[in-house]
Amino acid sequence: MLSWFVPIITSVFLVAFTLYIVRVVRGPTLPDIVLAIDCLSYDLAVFVALMSLYYGTPFLVIGALLLSLWAFIFDVFISKYLVRKDLGGG
């Protein structure tokens, strides 16, 4: 059952990846790029979870949690840079 379901869903997710990557390349300003990279990393988390199901290896799925938390850290640092113009710990 999963042997035909996961490739179809993965191809649909690859279409969405392509649309987000077009926005990352074309994005006129910095917040557009950051927003598209956030969506890209959330979708990579789903992609990694699907790969873990497909290959039957349970240790791949730990990467999904780290990807979803990395996007939030990226948001916070870029926002701090935009408002304060430095990344110092002050």
Binding site: Y20, R23, A64, F72, L82
Partner: protein
């Protein structure tokens, strides 16, 4: 017998959730391409985060509960997937709100197709120290 029925129900419900999530994700990608402005693209990003990432992760957790290939690791995979879904539901709105506030305050992106700007009198612009 009962276990086989429960496994089939979990498998089909999970596959339905993952399919709905993939459709949401393509819709969010089209919106991310075609919307004119950063503040409008935030709506597409929210669709891509909640409908396109948290919902398929719940579906993957249900599929992993019914999977024979993972063995006794399937409960661990299910819990990590549910934990990732909850983390996305908490952090994605917070992150996009922080980013919108910073972009508004620093004037980092144009506000050109603007109908009504309710924050004009409340947030001091410029981004320098006050």
């Amino acid at each position: 017998m009962v276990n086989a029925v429960i496994d089939h129900v979990l498998l089909y419900v999970g596959m339905t959730l993952v399919s709905i999530g993939a459709a949401y994700d393509v819709i969010a990608g089209i919106g991310m391409i075609r919307f004119p402005n950063f503040y409008v693209r935030l709506h597409a990003a929210t669709i891509g985060a909640v409908g396109g990432a948290a919902l398929p992760l719940v579906g993957v957790a249900l599929i992993a509960l019914a999977s024979d290939q993972l063995g006794s690791y399937r409960f661990g995979v299910c819990m990590v997937c549910l934990l990732t879904a909850v983390a996305i539901l908490i952090t994605a709105p917070t992150g996009s709100h922080i980013l919108a506030y910073a972009a508004y305050k620093a004037r980092a992106s144009p506000r050109e197709p603007c109908v009504h700007d309710a924050l004009r009198n409340f947030i001091k612009e410029g981004g320098e120290e006050e």
